[in-house]
Amino acid sequence: MDVEFAVRYPFSSEARKVLQDIEASWNEPAMELGIERIKKALGNKLGRSTAMHREEQLEEIVAYAAARLLLGHVRNRFITNTFAVAEAKRASQYFHQEKEGTLEVLGEELGCVAHREETGYWIALPQYVRFAPGAPPYKLVNRRLQQGKVFVNRHERLRLLEEAVRLHVGRLKPVLDPPPSVKKAGEQLKKIIPPAETPSIAFQTGSHPPCIQQLLEDLKRHENLPHHARWYLAVYLLHTGMVVEQLISLYSNLPDFNEKITRYQIEHAQKKGYSIPTCATVKSWGISCPGCRRKSPLQWQGLRQGGTHERKGKKPDS
């Protein structure tokens, strides 16, 4: 058994073997470790392992497993998604130093198999679309394809692997009949779950175009939004008169929310006074517009294009 591998990748089958070997039990101390790991993930503090000794290493492996057990019991989308993002980013910190053989093993386990050639890798198309991030360079339409395989370079291959980790970690089995220690830990965890931030935005059907409505629904469910979707939503809501703090509060529902970066980006968008893009541009980013045949979101409610400070009764900044 490779305990160091299991510490680096506690979601792996190697980690499961370790847990079986030590006959891990889900008592209160184990659940405490799980809570701590979740807290680190929520606080963006889940980094590379600092375990020096075998006991510490085993604790880390137990902590991950306990955290997942807890998440399967509590079933809060926000925490699960945030935890999955944190574990994926942590794992990716190790990827760059790994040999090809190790990456192959991980890829096989996660269903993200890449076949190496001289200048990069080929990945089967169904796997590529499952694990490709939402950013425009990863859109299938712009990729090199060959008979059902997609070409990626090493950096992209590692990025896909990171996505595969995120999806794997975020896919939880519901824990239906938890032992008392898990229930108790669940109660503790619920106290630290932030309430869903939903500043008042008109959610009545028809108050926003379907594309915006869908993005707001996704946000409410703490789903991750790709970059263009976040930008578009922010520009649109600034045009409706939402203030920066409200927008930041709304975006805090995102599983990888970083207040500093979000504040910078929203204030930047406000200062620049970006125009709301046309529907053709929105669709080109892959944002869903179910059943809508308008040409511009501005047509939906007669929103006036005039800078992000414009609100009813207020003149735009010159």
Binding site: P126, P136, K139, L140, V141, R144, Q146, Q147, S284, G286
Partner: protein, 364 residues
């Protein structure tokens, strides 16, 4: 539609379903939906097998019958979460958008050509699928459904399916990203780009540019009217070297070619592909708006829907038209035009068609 017509239609549908060869993989794991007023009036139906489904349809023939693209552990359960989704076929829906009621039936060939393009260029070539992985079905009205049944595609989710539709529709295509610049010596840059032998949009783009230069050379630049610069440019593209164009601003001139690459008639709005709990017309069932069979197509080149997808009804029926109908090619003959109020003996498949379109009443 009068009562006489409704009764006849029920009999026709019932007789057909008693002997039809419905094409459904793993029917016990599919949800079914049926309708007469709408396409789906009832859903969450399940049957242990094809025999049971067929017996039901023969006794209670609906105008429309659909099955889920998805496979479920408990297809009859509600709400949807309780069905336990096991995977779904990927289905592309191509159809003609049209305002006019009958005009689209004169344009079915264009959507057939798009379906052929979808299969050959995108699914067989780019996606690396084989013909046995695909089921091509005439929708029964104004388009086609293409089902992908390859096991590797079954588990992919809604977002991934949308990515496949986006691919075919060319959404987000950035052809300028196909190119890189390599400095040969100071001040001289070589433009490297896709070759025509490549798959995907890269190869598609290179082939389209070559075709355009060969067929309409001056549409890109006047100098391509001369064979030498034209052949030099094409020769360069074949090696991935796009620097051999004798024009400085070649990139923006290629944009109109890039814009023509995607397949526009794939229907993304209805969400057929993205919706992993979608109900889709059962292949070889009857389309209740036309009386045509949603025919599984083995040979797309030879297939003519208004000849090959008709119910095998012999003889004629007398109908009285309730509106003007233009001439249509139907079962290898030209029928019409007909005027509102006109009473006529017409072949029974055509009679069924106009009755279901609400354009005639049955006399006898």
């Amino acid at each position: 539609m009068n009562e006489k017509a409704k009764n006849q239609i029920v009999k026709i549908f019932s007789r057909y379903y008693a002997q039809a060869r419905l094409e459904i993989l793993q029917p016990a794991q599919r949800e079914f939906g049926m309708g007469n007023i709408k396409k789906i009036d009832h859903r969450h139906m399940a049957f242990p097998g094809l025999k049971e489904l067929q017996a039901y349809l023969a006794n209670n023939p609906p105008l429309f019958v659909s099955h889920s693209t998805a496979y479920y552990r408990y297809p009859e359960a509600t709400p949807i979460e309780k069905k336990e989704w096991l995977g779904a076929d990927v289905v592309f829906d191509l159809d003609l958008h049209a305002e006019e009621k009958f005009g689209i039936y004169r344009r079915l060939d264009s959507v057939k050509q798009d379906t052929l393009r979808l299969m050959e260029e995108f699914l067989l070539r780019d996606f690396g699928l084989e013909k046995k992985d695909l089921l091509v079905v005439f929708s029964g009205n104004r388009g086609y459904h293409v089902h992908i049944r390859h096991k590797d595609f079954l588990p992919i989710g809604s977002n991934e399916r949308k990515e496949l539709v986006d691919y075919i529709r060319g959404l987000g295509l950035n052809y300028e990203g196909f190119f890189t610049r390599e400095e040969i010596k100071r001040g001289m840059v070589k433009l490297l780009g896709p070759r025509p032998t490549e798959d995907g949009y890269r190869g598609r783009f290179a082939r389209a540019v070559i075709r355009q230069v060969e067929e309409k050379p001056t549409s890109i630049a006047r100098i391509f009217a001369k064979p030498e610069p034209r052949d030099r440019f094409i020769g360069g593209i074949r090696e991935g070297n796009w620097s051999k164009a004798p024009v400085k601003d070649i990139m923006p001139r290629l944009k109109p070619i890039a814009d023509q690459l995607p397949l526009q008639s794939v229907n993304a709005d209805a969400g057929v592909t993205q919706d992993i709990s979608k109900l889709i017309r059962i292949p070889n069932s009857i389309h209740g708006e036309t009386g045509c069979i949603a025919q599984v197509v083995d040979n797309m080149e030879k297939f003519e829907p208004l000849r090959d997808a008709l119910l095998p009804l012999k003889g004629v029926a007398t109908v009285r038209f309730t509106e003007d109908i233009p001439a249509l090619e139907f079962a290898n003959e030209t029928l019409g035009p007909f005027k509102s109020g006109e009473k006529k003996d017409v072949p029974r498949p055509y009679a069924l068609f106009v009755l279901l379109k609400g354009s005639a009443d049955l006399e006898e």
